[in-house]
Protein backbone atom coordinates (compact mmCIF):
# COMPACT_ATOMS: atom_id res chain seq x y z
CA UNK A 1 0.00 0.00 0.00
CA UNK A 2 1.53 3.32 -1.09
CA UNK A 3 0.70 6.64 0.52
CA UNK A 4 -1.36 8.52 -2.11
CA UNK A 5 -0.26 11.89 -3.51
CA UNK A 6 -2.60 14.04 -1.45
CA UNK A 7 -2.40 17.32 0.39
CA UNK A 8 -4.79 18.48 3.06
CA UNK A 9 -7.27 20.90 1.38
CA UNK A 10 -6.76 24.53 2.40
CA UNK A 11 -10.25 24.88 3.91
CA UNK A 12 -9.81 21.85 6.10
CA UNK A 13 -6.33 23.12 7.07
CA UNK A 14 -7.82 26.43 8.12
CA UNK A 15 -10.21 24.57 10.38
CA UNK A 16 -7.52 22.22 11.74
CA UNK A 17 -5.22 25.15 12.38
CA UNK A 18 -7.82 26.68 14.67
CA UNK A 19 -8.25 23.56 16.81
CA UNK A 20 -6.07 23.22 19.89
CA UNK A 21 -2.86 21.29 19.14
CA UNK A 22 -2.63 19.75 22.60
CA UNK A 23 -4.70 16.56 21.98
CA UNK A 24 -2.65 15.40 18.94
CA UNK A 25 0.62 16.39 20.67
CA UNK A 26 -0.50 14.44 23.73
CA UNK A 27 -1.27 11.42 21.51
CA UNK A 28 2.18 11.69 19.91
CA UNK A 29 3.97 11.95 23.25
CA UNK A 30 1.98 9.03 24.70
CA UNK A 31 2.72 6.85 21.66
CA UNK A 32 6.43 7.69 21.79
CA UNK A 33 6.56 6.81 25.48
CA UNK A 34 4.79 3.51 24.83
CA UNK A 35 7.33 2.66 22.12
CA UNK A 36 10.22 3.51 24.46
CA UNK A 37 8.67 1.49 27.29
CA UNK A 38 8.24 -1.58 25.08
CA UNK A 39 11.82 -1.31 23.88
CA UNK A 40 10.73 -0.70 20.27
CA UNK A 41 12.14 2.83 20.15
CA UNK A 42 15.75 2.42 21.36
CA UNK A 43 15.97 6.04 22.52
CA UNK A 44 18.98 7.18 24.49
CA UNK A 45 17.02 9.74 26.53
CA UNK A 46 20.26 11.36 27.73
CA UNK A 47 20.77 12.65 24.16
CA UNK A 48 17.24 14.08 24.02
CA UNK A 49 16.79 15.34 27.58
CA UNK A 50 15.89 19.03 28.02
CA UNK A 51 15.50 19.44 24.25
CA UNK A 52 12.37 20.85 22.63
CA UNK A 53 10.88 19.60 19.38
CA UNK A 54 8.28 20.78 16.90
CA UNK A 55 6.73 18.66 14.16
CA UNK A 56 4.98 20.96 11.69
CA UNK A 57 2.39 19.38 9.42
CA UNK A 58 2.55 22.10 6.78
CA UNK A 59 -0.52 21.31 4.67
CA UNK A 60 -2.69 20.66 7.73
CA UNK A 61 -1.55 23.87 9.40
CA UNK A 62 -0.86 21.97 12.61
CA UNK A 63 2.26 22.17 14.80
CA UNK A 64 2.93 19.54 17.43
CA UNK A 65 5.31 20.62 20.18
CA UNK A 66 6.89 18.32 22.68
CA UNK A 67 10.04 17.94 24.74
CA UNK A 68 11.94 15.26 26.61
CA UNK A 69 13.33 14.84 30.10
CA UNK A 70 15.87 12.22 31.07
CA UNK A 71 13.19 9.50 31.27
CA UNK A 72 10.40 10.22 28.81
CA UNK A 73 8.75 12.53 26.28
CA UNK A 74 6.56 15.31 27.67
CA UNK A 75 4.25 18.04 26.33
CA UNK A 76 5.94 21.38 25.72
CA UNK A 77 3.80 24.38 26.66
CA UNK A 78 6.60 26.95 26.88
CA UNK A 79 6.72 29.76 24.33
CA UNK A 80 9.85 30.33 22.24
CA UNK A 81 11.77 28.51 19.53
CA UNK A 82 12.19 24.72 19.68
CA UNK A 83 15.69 23.19 19.42
CA UNK A 84 14.58 21.24 16.37
CA UNK A 85 11.73 21.84 13.92
CA UNK A 86 10.83 19.29 11.23
CA UNK A 87 8.33 20.48 8.62
CA UNK A 88 6.64 18.50 5.85
CA UNK A 89 3.20 17.71 4.46
CA UNK A 90 1.21 14.95 6.18
CA UNK A 91 1.65 12.51 3.27
CA UNK A 92 5.44 12.99 3.28
CA UNK A 93 5.66 12.40 7.04
CA UNK A 94 3.60 9.25 6.48
CA UNK A 95 5.97 8.08 3.71
CA UNK A 96 8.93 8.68 5.97
CA UNK A 97 7.40 6.82 8.92
CA UNK A 98 6.28 3.88 6.74
CA UNK A 99 9.75 3.72 5.14
CA UNK A 100 8.45 4.43 1.67
CA UNK A 101 10.81 7.38 1.38
CA UNK A 102 14.19 8.18 2.81
CA UNK A 103 14.30 11.51 4.72
CA UNK A 104 17.44 12.54 2.76
CA UNK A 105 15.50 12.03 -0.49
CA UNK A 106 12.65 14.21 0.81
CA UNK A 107 15.19 16.77 1.97
CA UNK A 108 17.00 16.86 -1.43
CA UNK A 109 13.58 17.35 -3.06
CA UNK A 110 12.74 20.15 -0.59
CA UNK A 111 9.75 18.25 0.78
CA UNK A 112 11.23 18.06 4.28
CA UNK A 113 12.80 20.95 6.09
CA UNK A 114 15.01 20.87 9.15
CA UNK A 115 15.55 23.96 11.30
CA UNK A 116 17.57 24.40 14.47
CA UNK A 117 20.13 21.94 15.82
CA UNK A 118 21.16 19.81 12.84
CA UNK A 119 22.91 17.23 14.99
CA UNK A 120 19.76 16.76 17.07
CA UNK A 121 17.90 16.28 13.78
CA UNK A 122 20.34 13.54 12.81
CA UNK A 123 19.94 11.85 16.21
CA UNK A 124 16.15 11.83 15.75
CA UNK A 125 16.39 10.58 12.15
CA UNK A 126 18.79 7.81 13.05
CA UNK A 127 16.67 6.87 16.06
CA UNK A 128 13.58 6.43 13.85
CA UNK A 129 15.65 4.47 11.33
CA UNK A 130 16.88 2.08 13.98
CA UNK A 131 13.36 1.02 15.04
CA UNK A 132 12.93 -2.59 13.99
CA UNK A 133 9.24 -2.67 13.02
CA UNK A 134 9.69 -6.37 12.17
CA UNK A 135 9.38 -6.90 15.91
CA UNK A 136 6.01 -5.13 16.27
CA UNK A 137 2.44 -5.62 15.06
CA UNK A 138 2.96 -2.52 12.89
CA UNK A 139 5.27 -4.52 10.58
CA UNK A 140 2.49 -5.18 8.06
CA UNK A 141 2.03 -1.46 7.40
CA UNK A 142 5.66 -0.87 6.51
CA UNK A 143 6.98 -0.65 2.94
CA UNK A 144 9.26 -3.62 2.29
Amino acid sequence: MRVPELTVPTRLARLLGRLPATPPAWLLVTSLNQLVKRGVLPADMELLAERRFEVRLVDAGVSLRFAADSRRFILDRQPGEPDLRLSANVADFARMMLREEDPDTLFFNRKLSIEGDTELGLIVKNLLDSVDWHETPLARFMAS
Binding site: F107, N109, R110, A143
Partner: protein, 334 residues
Amino acid sequence: MTLPELVCPAGSLPALKAAVDNGADTVYIGLKNDTNARNFAGLNFDDKSARSGIDYARARGRKVLMAINTYAQGGNVSRWHRAIDEAADLGVDAVILADLGLMDYAVRRHPDLRLHLSVQGSATNYEAVNLARELFGIRRAVLPRVLTLDQVRHVIEHTDVEIEVFGFGSLCVMVEGRCLLSSYATGESPNTHGVCSPAKHVRWEHGETSLDARLGGVLIDQYGKDEPAGYPTLCKGRFAVQGDTYYALEEPTSLNVMAMLPQIIDIGVAAIKVEGRQRSPAYVSQVTRTLRAALDAAGREAQRFSVRPAWQQELGKLSEGQQQTLGAYNRPWK
Protein backbone atom coordinates in the same frame (compact mmCIF):
# COMPACT_ATOMS: atom_id res chain seq x y z
CA MET B 1 29.55 -16.49 -15.74
CA THR B 2 29.63 -15.18 -12.19
CA LEU B 3 27.98 -11.87 -11.46
CA PRO B 4 29.79 -9.29 -9.33
CA GLU B 5 28.77 -9.30 -5.68
CA LEU B 6 26.27 -6.55 -4.85
CA VAL B 7 27.67 -4.81 -1.74
CA CYS B 8 25.12 -2.59 0.05
CA PRO B 9 25.37 -0.12 2.95
CA ALA B 10 23.72 -0.34 6.37
CA GLY B 11 23.79 2.27 9.13
CA SER B 12 21.28 0.41 11.29
CA LEU B 13 19.87 -3.07 11.83
CA PRO B 14 16.67 -2.36 9.85
CA ALA B 15 18.83 -1.10 6.95
CA LEU B 16 20.89 -4.30 7.06
CA LYS B 17 17.71 -6.39 6.97
CA ALA B 18 16.39 -4.24 4.10
CA ALA B 19 19.60 -4.89 2.12
CA VAL B 20 19.44 -8.64 2.72
CA ASP B 21 15.69 -8.87 1.99
CA ASN B 22 16.07 -6.96 -1.28
CA GLY B 23 18.92 -9.00 -2.74
CA ALA B 24 22.30 -7.72 -1.49
CA ASP B 25 24.99 -10.41 -1.56
CA THR B 26 26.99 -8.53 1.04
CA VAL B 27 26.28 -5.73 3.51
CA TYR B 28 28.89 -3.40 4.98
CA ILE B 29 28.54 -1.77 8.39
CA GLY B 30 30.54 0.34 10.88
CA LEU B 31 30.83 0.75 14.64
CA LYS B 32 29.47 3.70 16.64
CA ASN B 33 32.70 5.76 16.69
CA ASP B 34 35.28 7.56 14.56
CA THR B 35 36.87 4.32 13.29
CA ASN B 36 34.65 4.55 10.21
CA ALA B 37 33.88 7.29 7.69
CA ARG B 38 30.17 7.65 8.57
CA ASN B 39 30.58 8.69 12.19
CA PHE B 40 27.17 10.32 12.72
CA ALA B 41 25.22 10.64 15.98
CA GLY B 42 22.85 7.72 16.43
CA LEU B 43 24.08 5.84 13.36
CA ASN B 44 25.90 2.50 13.16
CA PHE B 45 26.17 -0.70 15.18
CA ASP B 46 26.97 -1.70 18.72
CA ASP B 47 27.94 -5.24 19.70
CA LYS B 48 24.33 -6.41 20.11
CA SER B 49 22.96 -5.02 16.84
CA ALA B 50 26.07 -6.17 14.94
CA ARG B 51 25.66 -9.74 16.22
CA SER B 52 22.01 -9.77 15.41
CA GLY B 53 22.69 -8.35 11.91
CA ILE B 54 25.42 -10.88 11.18
CA ASP B 55 23.12 -13.72 12.29
CA TYR B 56 20.34 -12.39 10.05
CA ALA B 57 22.62 -12.18 7.00
CA ARG B 58 24.32 -15.55 7.63
CA ALA B 59 21.01 -17.35 8.03
CA ARG B 60 20.22 -16.20 4.49
CA GLY B 61 23.61 -16.99 3.00
CA ARG B 62 24.87 -13.38 2.81
CA LYS B 63 28.07 -11.78 4.02
CA VAL B 64 28.79 -8.85 6.34
CA LEU B 65 31.86 -6.60 6.09
CA MET B 66 33.03 -4.09 8.70
CA ALA B 67 34.43 -0.73 7.55
CA ILE B 68 37.28 0.51 9.77
CA ASN B 69 38.33 2.94 7.12
CA THR B 70 39.52 6.11 8.85
CA TYR B 71 43.14 6.78 9.77
CA ALA B 72 44.14 5.97 13.35
CA GLN B 73 44.99 9.18 15.20
CA GLY B 74 48.12 9.56 17.33
CA GLY B 75 47.56 8.91 21.02
CA ASN B 76 44.34 6.97 20.36
CA VAL B 77 45.45 4.12 18.14
CA SER B 78 44.05 1.64 20.63
CA ARG B 79 40.47 2.57 19.65
CA TRP B 80 41.17 1.43 16.08
CA HIS B 81 42.91 -1.73 17.35
CA ARG B 82 39.88 -2.52 19.52
CA ALA B 83 37.61 -2.05 16.50
CA ILE B 84 39.63 -4.65 14.57
CA ASP B 85 39.57 -7.03 17.55
CA GLU B 86 35.82 -6.56 17.84
CA ALA B 87 35.30 -7.22 14.12
CA ALA B 88 37.35 -10.44 14.41
CA ASP B 89 35.40 -11.44 17.50
CA LEU B 90 32.06 -10.81 15.76
CA GLY B 91 33.26 -13.03 12.93
CA VAL B 92 32.66 -10.60 10.05
CA ASP B 93 33.55 -11.89 6.60
CA ALA B 94 36.17 -9.17 6.11
CA VAL B 95 37.32 -5.81 7.43
CA ILE B 96 37.71 -2.84 5.09
CA LEU B 97 40.87 -0.93 6.07
CA ALA B 98 42.71 2.08 4.67
CA ASP B 99 45.50 2.65 7.21
CA LEU B 100 48.65 0.58 6.55
CA GLY B 101 49.49 0.46 10.27
CA LEU B 102 46.08 -1.06 10.98
CA MET B 103 46.57 -3.59 8.16
CA ASP B 104 49.79 -4.65 9.82
CA TYR B 105 48.06 -4.94 13.21
CA ALA B 106 45.22 -6.98 11.72
CA VAL B 107 47.56 -9.43 9.99
CA ARG B 108 49.66 -10.00 13.10
CA ARG B 109 46.81 -10.24 15.58
CA HIS B 110 44.16 -11.93 13.45
CA PRO B 111 45.91 -13.86 10.66
CA ASP B 112 42.63 -15.46 9.54
CA LEU B 113 40.74 -12.17 9.19
CA ARG B 114 40.11 -11.34 5.54
CA LEU B 115 41.32 -7.86 4.55
CA HIS B 116 39.86 -5.49 1.97
CA LEU B 117 41.73 -2.33 1.01
CA SER B 118 39.28 0.57 1.42
CA VAL B 119 38.67 3.19 -1.23
CA GLN B 120 40.21 5.54 1.34
CA GLY B 121 43.47 3.63 0.87
CA SER B 122 43.60 5.44 -2.46
CA ALA B 123 45.17 2.65 -4.53
CA THR B 124 44.53 3.58 -8.16
CA ASN B 125 47.04 1.29 -9.90
CA TYR B 126 47.86 -2.41 -9.85
CA GLU B 127 51.33 -1.80 -8.39
CA ALA B 128 49.77 -0.31 -5.25
CA VAL B 129 47.19 -3.10 -5.04
CA ASN B 130 49.82 -5.81 -5.49
CA LEU B 131 52.11 -4.22 -2.92
CA ALA B 132 49.29 -4.30 -0.35
CA ARG B 133 48.77 -7.96 -1.21
CA GLU B 134 52.47 -8.77 -0.75
CA LEU B 135 52.69 -6.88 2.54
CA PHE B 136 49.35 -7.77 4.14
CA GLY B 137 47.72 -10.44 1.98
CA ILE B 138 44.71 -8.27 1.06
CA ARG B 139 42.05 -10.19 -0.84
CA ARG B 140 40.11 -7.28 -2.34
CA ALA B 141 40.70 -3.62 -3.18
CA VAL B 142 38.00 -0.97 -3.61
CA LEU B 143 39.08 1.38 -6.39
CA PRO B 144 38.75 5.16 -6.02
CA ARG B 145 36.10 6.76 -8.24
CA VAL B 146 38.63 8.43 -10.50
CA LEU B 147 39.43 5.67 -13.02
CA THR B 148 37.91 5.13 -16.45
CA LEU B 149 36.47 1.70 -17.23
CA ASP B 150 39.57 0.95 -19.34
CA GLN B 151 41.81 1.84 -16.42
CA VAL B 152 39.79 -0.43 -14.14
CA ARG B 153 40.23 -3.23 -16.69
CA HIS B 154 43.97 -2.56 -16.75
CA VAL B 155 44.18 -2.97 -12.96
CA ILE B 156 42.12 -6.20 -13.06
CA GLU B 157 44.35 -7.68 -15.77
CA HIS B 158 47.46 -7.20 -13.64
CA THR B 159 46.41 -8.47 -10.25
CA ASP B 160 44.77 -11.50 -8.68
CA VAL B 161 43.34 -9.33 -5.89
CA GLU B 162 39.56 -9.01 -6.32
CA ILE B 163 38.52 -5.56 -7.53
CA GLU B 164 35.46 -3.76 -6.18
CA VAL B 165 34.10 -0.59 -7.79
CA PHE B 166 31.42 1.92 -6.83
CA GLY B 167 28.10 1.49 -8.61
CA PHE B 168 25.75 4.02 -7.06
CA GLY B 169 25.73 6.88 -4.57
CA SER B 170 26.68 10.44 -3.82
CA LEU B 171 29.89 11.71 -5.36
CA CYS B 172 32.34 14.19 -3.90
CA VAL B 173 35.66 15.57 -5.11
CA MET B 174 37.03 12.04 -4.59
CA VAL B 175 40.44 12.93 -3.27
CA GLU B 176 39.97 9.59 -1.58
CA GLY B 177 41.84 9.13 1.67
CA ARG B 178 43.49 12.54 1.41
CA CYS B 179 40.65 15.03 1.70
CA LEU B 180 41.01 17.59 4.49
CA LEU B 181 38.74 20.21 2.94
CA SER B 182 36.13 20.26 5.74
CA SER B 183 38.90 20.90 8.30
CA TYR B 184 39.09 24.48 7.04
CA ALA B 185 35.50 25.17 8.11
CA THR B 186 35.03 22.75 11.02
CA GLY B 187 38.42 21.50 12.23
CA GLU B 188 37.34 17.93 11.42
CA SER B 189 37.84 15.84 8.29
CA PRO B 190 36.60 12.48 6.98
CA ASN B 191 39.86 10.62 7.40
CA THR B 192 40.57 11.88 10.89
CA HIS B 193 37.10 12.15 12.45
CA GLY B 194 35.05 9.95 10.18
CA VAL B 195 32.80 12.71 8.92
CA CYS B 196 33.23 15.51 6.41
CA SER B 197 30.39 17.82 7.44
CA PRO B 198 29.90 17.15 11.15
CA ALA B 199 26.24 17.87 11.91
CA LYS B 200 27.07 20.05 14.90
CA HIS B 201 28.72 22.50 12.48
CA VAL B 202 25.80 22.54 10.03
CA ARG B 203 23.02 25.14 10.13
CA TRP B 204 20.08 25.38 7.73
CA GLU B 205 18.68 28.91 7.74
CA HIS B 206 15.29 29.61 6.21
CA GLY B 207 15.32 33.10 4.75
CA GLU B 208 12.64 35.06 2.89
CA THR B 209 13.56 33.70 -0.51
CA SER B 210 16.26 31.11 0.07
CA LEU B 211 17.44 28.23 2.19
CA ASP B 212 20.99 28.96 3.36
CA ALA B 213 23.47 26.21 4.22
CA ARG B 214 26.20 27.16 6.68
CA LEU B 215 29.11 24.98 7.67
CA GLY B 216 31.13 26.20 10.65
CA GLY B 217 29.43 29.57 10.17
CA VAL B 218 30.61 29.81 6.54
CA LEU B 219 27.83 30.28 3.98
CA ILE B 220 28.41 27.45 1.48
CA ASP B 221 25.20 27.48 -0.55
CA GLN B 222 21.86 29.21 -1.04
CA TYR B 223 18.97 27.28 -2.54
CA GLY B 224 16.07 29.10 -4.17
CA LYS B 225 12.50 28.06 -3.42
CA ASP B 226 11.97 24.43 -4.60
CA GLU B 227 15.52 24.16 -5.96
CA PRO B 228 16.89 20.65 -5.23
CA ALA B 229 19.29 20.65 -2.27
CA GLY B 230 22.37 18.56 -1.54
CA TYR B 231 24.53 17.55 1.39
CA PRO B 232 26.15 20.56 3.09
CA THR B 233 29.74 19.69 2.16
CA LEU B 234 32.35 22.28 1.22
CA CYS B 235 33.23 20.59 -2.06
CA LYS B 236 29.62 20.86 -3.23
CA GLY B 237 29.09 24.48 -2.20
CA ARG B 238 28.60 27.40 -4.57
CA PHE B 239 31.27 30.03 -4.33
CA ALA B 240 31.89 33.47 -5.79
CA VAL B 241 34.94 33.15 -8.00
CA GLN B 242 36.03 36.18 -10.03
CA GLY B 243 32.55 37.60 -10.25
CA ASP B 244 30.74 34.30 -10.93
CA THR B 245 28.88 32.30 -8.27
CA TYR B 246 28.80 28.60 -9.13
CA TYR B 247 29.80 25.08 -8.12
CA ALA B 248 33.49 25.87 -8.33
CA LEU B 249 34.63 22.43 -7.11
CA GLU B 250 31.90 19.83 -7.66
CA GLU B 251 28.16 19.74 -8.36
CA PRO B 252 25.86 17.73 -6.10
CA THR B 253 25.40 14.57 -8.13
CA SER B 254 25.18 10.80 -7.82
CA LEU B 255 27.12 8.08 -9.56
CA ASN B 256 24.97 5.52 -11.36
CA VAL B 257 26.67 2.78 -13.42
CA MET B 258 23.53 0.94 -14.49
CA ALA B 259 24.11 1.69 -18.17
CA MET B 260 27.58 0.12 -17.97
CA LEU B 261 26.74 -3.09 -16.13
CA PRO B 262 27.45 -5.45 -19.08
CA GLN B 263 30.96 -3.98 -19.50
CA ILE B 264 31.58 -4.08 -15.73
CA ILE B 265 30.65 -7.76 -15.67
CA ASP B 266 32.69 -8.39 -18.80
CA ILE B 267 35.97 -7.00 -17.47
CA GLY B 268 35.77 -9.16 -14.36
CA VAL B 269 34.85 -6.74 -11.57
CA ALA B 270 34.37 -8.85 -8.40
CA ALA B 271 31.99 -6.56 -6.55
CA ILE B 272 29.85 -3.45 -7.02
CA LYS B 273 29.46 -1.17 -4.04
CA VAL B 274 26.57 1.12 -3.15
CA GLU B 275 27.36 4.28 -1.15
CA GLY B 276 25.15 5.49 1.70
CA ARG B 277 25.49 4.09 5.22
CA GLN B 278 24.09 7.45 6.39
CA ARG B 279 20.85 6.88 4.46
CA SER B 280 17.64 5.27 5.77
CA PRO B 281 16.29 1.74 5.32
CA ALA B 282 13.93 3.08 2.60
CA TYR B 283 16.92 4.12 0.46
CA VAL B 284 18.70 0.82 1.05
CA SER B 285 15.57 -1.14 0.01
CA GLN B 286 15.01 0.91 -3.13
CA VAL B 287 18.61 0.95 -4.36
CA THR B 288 19.26 -2.70 -3.54
CA ARG B 289 16.06 -3.91 -5.20
CA THR B 290 16.72 -1.85 -8.33
CA LEU B 291 20.39 -2.78 -8.73
CA ARG B 292 19.62 -6.46 -8.02
CA ALA B 293 17.11 -6.47 -10.87
CA ALA B 294 19.49 -4.57 -13.18
CA LEU B 295 22.50 -6.75 -12.37
CA ASP B 296 20.53 -9.99 -12.91
CA ALA B 297 19.17 -8.66 -16.20
CA ALA B 298 22.65 -7.58 -17.34
CA GLY B 299 23.93 -11.09 -16.52
CA ARG B 300 21.18 -12.69 -18.62
CA GLU B 301 21.06 -10.25 -21.50
CA ALA B 302 24.75 -9.24 -21.85
CA GLN B 303 25.12 -6.80 -24.77
CA ARG B 304 21.36 -6.81 -25.42
CA PHE B 305 20.88 -5.28 -21.95
CA SER B 306 19.14 -1.94 -21.68
CA VAL B 307 18.32 0.13 -18.63
CA ARG B 308 14.58 0.01 -17.88
CA PRO B 309 12.97 3.44 -17.43
CA ALA B 310 11.45 2.35 -14.09
CA TRP B 311 14.91 1.58 -12.67
CA GLN B 312 16.26 4.91 -13.87
CA GLN B 313 13.32 6.72 -12.34
CA GLU B 314 13.68 4.94 -8.99
CA LEU B 315 17.39 5.70 -8.67
CA GLY B 316 17.01 9.22 -10.07
CA LYS B 317 14.60 10.13 -7.30
CA LEU B 318 17.09 9.04 -4.62
CA SER B 319 20.03 10.94 -6.08
CA GLU B 320 21.64 13.91 -4.46
CA GLY B 321 20.96 17.03 -6.52
CA GLN B 322 18.75 14.73 -8.67
CA GLN B 323 21.54 14.44 -11.19
CA GLN B 324 23.24 11.24 -12.20
CA THR B 325 26.51 10.58 -13.94
CA LEU B 326 28.73 7.73 -15.10
CA GLY B 327 31.52 9.66 -13.39
CA ALA B 328 35.08 8.90 -14.35
CA TYR B 329 34.15 5.50 -15.85
CA ASN B 330 33.14 7.28 -19.02
CA ARG B 331 35.71 9.79 -20.29
CA PRO B 332 35.42 9.82 -24.08
CA TRP B 333 38.13 12.50 -24.38
CA LYS B 334 40.72 10.35 -22.64
